[in-house]
Symmetry: C2
Amino acid sequence: MILAAAQTFCVASAAGRALARSVRHYCREAPTKLRISEALSGAEPGTNVRVQGWVRSVRPQKTNLFLHVNDGSSLQPLQVVAASTLDDPSLTFGSAVDVTGVLKKSPHHKQPVELEADHIHVVGQCNPVDFPFKIKERHSLEYIRQFPHLRCRTNAFSSLLRIRSEATAAVHSFFKENGFVQIHTPIITSNDCEGAGELFQLEPSSPENDGNEHFFSVPAFLSVSGQLHLEVMSGAFSRVYTFGPTFRAENSQSRRHLAEFYMVEAEVSFTESLEDLTKVMEDMFRCVSEYVLAHCAEDVDLFHKHVTPGHRDTVDAMLKKRFPVITYSDAIDILNRSSEEFTFPTHWGCDLQTEHEKYLVKHCGNIPVFVTDYPYDLKPFYARDNQDSPQHTAAAVDLLVPGVGELCGGSLREERLELLRARLEEAGLEDTYSWYLDLRRFGSVPHGGFGLGFERYLQCILGVANIKDVVPFPRFSHSCLL
Amino acid sequence: MILAAAQTFCVASAAGRALARSVRHYCREAPTKLRISEALSGAEPGTNVRVQGWVRSVRPQKTNLFLHVNDGSSLQPLQVVAASTLDDPSLTFGSAVDVTGVLKKSPHHKQPVELEADHIHVVGQCNPVDFPFKIKERHSLEYIRQFPHLRCRTNAFSSLLRIRSEATAAVHSFFKENGFVQIHTPIITSNDCEGAGELFQLEPSSPENDGNEHFFSVPAFLSVSGQLHLEVMSGAFSRVYTFGPTFRAENSQSRRHLAEFYMVEAEVSFTESLEDLTKVMEDMFRCVSEYVLAHCAEDVDLFHKHVTPGHRDTVDAMLKKRFPVITYSDAIDILNRSSEEFTFPTHWGCDLQTEHEKYLVKHCGNIPVFVTDYPYDLKPFYARDNQDSPQHTAAAVDLLVPGVGELCGGSLREERLELLRARLEEAGLEDTYSWYLDLRRFGSVPHGGFGLGFERYLQCILGVANIKDVVPFPRFSHSCLL
């Protein structure tokens, strides 16, 4: 009853305002149900409140009992102080509690308030012997990864999930503020976006007929990229983007690959040069990062202090300078001149391997670096021909970042009907992509776009070595838990 | 060069501020590149500007040429006025143009400004004979649906896409403002969320081995719901949500079903009754709708005036009153007493069919209505047992809306370990869902959640009869174009 009366759900025009209003609203009644972040940030000492969450620590002392209660709204728990008479053997690490009492100004500088409890109800018990996480132990990311259904109950992974949620909001905010229309590009597609990697194919699990006929009448795959569908939209909208899951059926156990991962993809019409794309890529990286560092300071600190000590300096350095731009040919010169022993030798025309990408990033001062104008023959049919010689290149660009290597890939798209048709004919794909040629037949415009791997972005900012630790439920070959 | 210098990309804290700032910034240089929505809403007459877009109408007159140019940033085009000497045979409906000139106050009340052009460059031609959309013709939604790669170039579908983008933003904003953490629940899953419908199964399109082994070692499916994964998170976060694609391999050609559709799903911990859920559902419906009606007024009007005349009155009526709540038992009484001839007869214990849902909505005044407490045996294993008799019900709720029928479905979840275990044992699913039982073993809390079909929501608000017309690329049996 209290809950229904006290909670206000609304879309406020400015962040924070809703919170302030609902906190004021709450304070009229007693006890007021508060989320812990609200109790810590906005509530007046003296207020009679009710909080609900999970116990993160228990310290019974002679006359008092101290609990830390967390409800996921912030990394910082609320300290609950109660008379020892309120102690209960089922008040264990991981148990769920419902606490009422009075907020008091805290004597400790680490927290603004604490809750002097007059009632503690154990809502859900948690047997400390069976529960895989132990009080006061710092479990490694590898250890907690074994418990996909429980790992959100650790500090590290709940911080990761809050950061991921805020970074997602920042991506949407960046594009919205800059006039991009969000397009829900399809997951199921009949394209096999040439060159983008191994595909998953799908059919109903219990086909109605004998399985000789496809559900969609044609073979259908999981999308490896929303690019071609965004390009459809680029014929009517000058700025579009999509942000969702994409898929690769690659048999990889790498620390940088997943079978299901999130991509941010944008497409800009009426481009004049690759600079129109690198500007969006760099501004997005910068804006989202600044937002996350400002809005998730506590959660980010956990990673920068305990997971990868010192990583904050790398991040600060990344955001201080403009990202340098070098051509692929420059990159090959740098690699050829280097004294580093590479597993894969380099020459003009070769693909850049992760070892090369990491070397280039170091060479440029350990900050993100754009590499442009790749060999024409390395790039898919849609990349725009630079029509140069003798070194024939396409107007493509990658963004390489510290620790990760390739974070973004993009290109201007071939908007010239005759050049695109010739290339598709050469590849025997003219019929398959006749709809794509139509986009160039009717009101074609110069345009380009890029994709950013969202998990790799999180790895880069947080310094997390393994991509499986930045995604709620990692999917990779031989593993699809839950 | 102008583009790179003039554009500012940033995350502003309040919507609109970034636009105002960039418009001021633009005006320092000449010609200033503007999006058409900026030219129409924020730019000073007298400014020397450059716009780029697609021609939506051409009217050559004796001394002047009139063009309407659209770039997707708004439904309203910018009127371009030029001397007849600038006319060009390739200035046709659908062609892409780059126009510079001076903004003038418009003599017409329908538009604030028009562009007096001194230069018009045709960037991409469009042969009006081959282009499937004709100038001045109003094409039906059925007609334009035949051209999935071009239909965004029509007014109706570009309006739909802007509305869909804004409604998506409003959903995220609603949850963010109310303290929900966004979770990217997985698309690929090894669960076959019992009872939710037909599944798609996936494997690599070119398996490395002879196909006897699964890529993920186990059979893998496309998610029909993020609920169970959200419930994982409900053990650490008191409010979570997800918004993404879900899948059903149903062989349906209905106007309300797709094989790939978007769902908004939320899960709330520490619930006390179904009212905690209906409040979130109703507030979300109301807030998102009010946002869309306010921020996409022009685009929504196109649907309310030309696609379903009179639908605005239905929408206004929906938003005026609180949504009534009736129990399933009430609903059966209403249906049994009705004089309507139903195809499916009704009795306590039967599933409600679309015809019943639509009747109930009409009966309650043609506004959204909640139906609660369905027969226990109709609901999946996770629905919370009301432990009532003789009519045994579960704490489940559906939201039925005008024109569509079922829009949302939700329930309290069975948080009591012993009851859940007994039900899973009965169904022989105890081993499959041992991880799900773990959620009740460790710090279990009363919780519940719901899912909303996003396409059906758009149908309901816009009055669009066919679900294929509210999604960028519809996927259904025998159809997966592009």
